[in-house]
Symmetry: C2
Subunit: 294 residues, 2 copies
């Protein structure tokens, strides 16, 4: 059994020498000056049974591994420079390489290197994405200002429906879960305008809670305003995650130059980080669906 | 069962869009221009039972994870800028953080970020190290020139003896295996002088074979000249790996400005990549000890 949970482990890491670009280990990516430009760095790891189904096509797994890392760059308005892979050899690596080729071509992102290891158990796959900031200061989670309006791109819950279709073999479209898209162009367009931005990976409400917390504000969210994939399961759609939409705040007098929906407002920090349809939420537990081993 | 072995997988990756800085996936690190400076990037992954003993102190595992990545930077003459961690939660993470603090302080390298995941099987830990080149062109494996002399730092086989002491509980010193040192200062001093350089991670003879191959030359090695930790087991010392010494070539009229031993010469590419005491070696199989699950 782990002797530290994730929050405790990350808290312990804060006792280390942290690079100022680590943003206190509270953002989607690290941001650092290098030469005369700004580097954006992120790493995501996917564990079989935890982040993907053992039965999934490895081409889809490769796509998702890269796209979710690029989504972190998108949330910083960064253009991808290249990726490093951490690959554990296993079944269907030819499919993995094929999916990798597709995602790299789609986003025009080249491979820089990485490491290949053997393993005899659960597969663990990692990706480090390197990006170049297109606008400084690079948007942070922590910049939301009182009075700002809160927006989200796209429609939430598509990944959840895709996952269920895949898991249950219904034949319904599972693309949103298998091959998420990173909103690179939208992130770049928004970066100079937003006060805060992040990608929605763990569920809209959980990620909004984190952004409100990081910004030392409260967010008031109107769930009826949020576009969802299934009206009958609105709360599931808002807590499931894996959608990789962009969540951002703009000053009240600004309007997003890309398709996005206003879903709430930024208020002074109250006793709760989030007010969901007027109901205070003080504990993030249960706000985000943690899809454990299926 | 994997359907591709490591060499086949890496060969398949070469069909992807590769960044020129990937150096054909044949070097210790990726090297790219960024903002008027040169970025050096590397990622290494360690698998429990494969790269460390399940019984090992996690503080030592953290040390080694970071030090081996820094060693790749050292081989490029790069100064560390920061690291990203890929961490799978597990037993003794407090010890892991403690070892991480020690290695980060020792090398004055800050944490930039990373990812933390849960897992229920074999632990897999990764590190991406980001460095700044101190000299361009950044040394490559592929630069050895006919007539150059081949050198290595330190004494080979120390890690092997350390591993055996640890595995067998003999009480003998196991530091060299548990807490390898990355030769940062030596790498930086050598970078402007060498024609080729790499770190010795998989065994001196195997790594020399790779450097000779990458340079399209043959290396003639005189094993009696190589400092080893145990004279009675010279070949074991030269094939075991994990020593993280620097292997490099210099023009015949140059002398290393740091302690190092001349162990051979660079010759025109013959039918064998390596001549070990005059004996040709055409196949790298068996040249490097692959320490599988103990």
């Amino acid at each position: 059994m782990p002797n530290l949970n994730e929050a405790e482990f990350i808290a312990a890491l804060r006792s280390l020498p942290l690079h100022p670009g680590s943003r206190g280990l509270m953002d989607d990516a690290a941001v650092l000056e290098f030469g005369g430009e700004t580097l954006v760095l992120t790493h995501d790891t996917m564990v079989e049974g935890m982040h993907f189904l053992p039965s999934q096509d490895m081409a889809d797994v490769a796509w998702k591994l890269v796209a979710t890392n690029l989504s972190d760059l998108a949330a910083k308005g960064a253009q991808p420079v290249g990726i490093l892979l951490s690959h554990m050899l296993g079944e269907d690596d030819d499919r993995f390489v094929s999916g990798l080729a597709e995602v790299c071509q789609h986003y025009n992102v080249p491979l820089l290197g990485g490491d290949t290891v053997s393993g005899d158990g659960t597969r663990v796959l990692g990706c480090t994405a390197i990006g170049r900031a297109t606008h400084v200061p690079v948007p942070a989670r922590s910049g939301a200002q009182i009075g700002d309006h809160l927006y989200v791109t796209g429609r939430l819950g598509e990944a959840m429906l895709g996952f269920e279709a895949l898991r249950d073999g219904t034949g319904a479209d599972s693309t949103a879960y298998r091959r998420p898209l990173a909103r690179m162009a939208e992130g770049e367009t928004l970066a100079p305008l937003v006060t805060a931005m992040m990608d929605v990976s763990d569920g809209l409400l959980l990620d909004a809670f984190r952004m409100a917390d990081a910004s030392e504000t409260s967010f008031a969210i109107d769930t009826a305003a949020i576009p969802v994939a299934d009206d009958a399961r609105r709360m599931d759609c808002l807590t499931w995650g894996d959608d990789y939409e962009l969540l951002f705040t703009l000053p009240a007098d600004a309007h997003p130059p890309i398709p996005a929906t206003r879903i709430g407002s930024v208020e002074p920090k109250g006793f709760a980080s989030l007010f969901v349809d007027g109901e205070p939420v003080t504990n993030p537990q249960g706000l985000g669906y943690r899809h454990e081993a299926p």
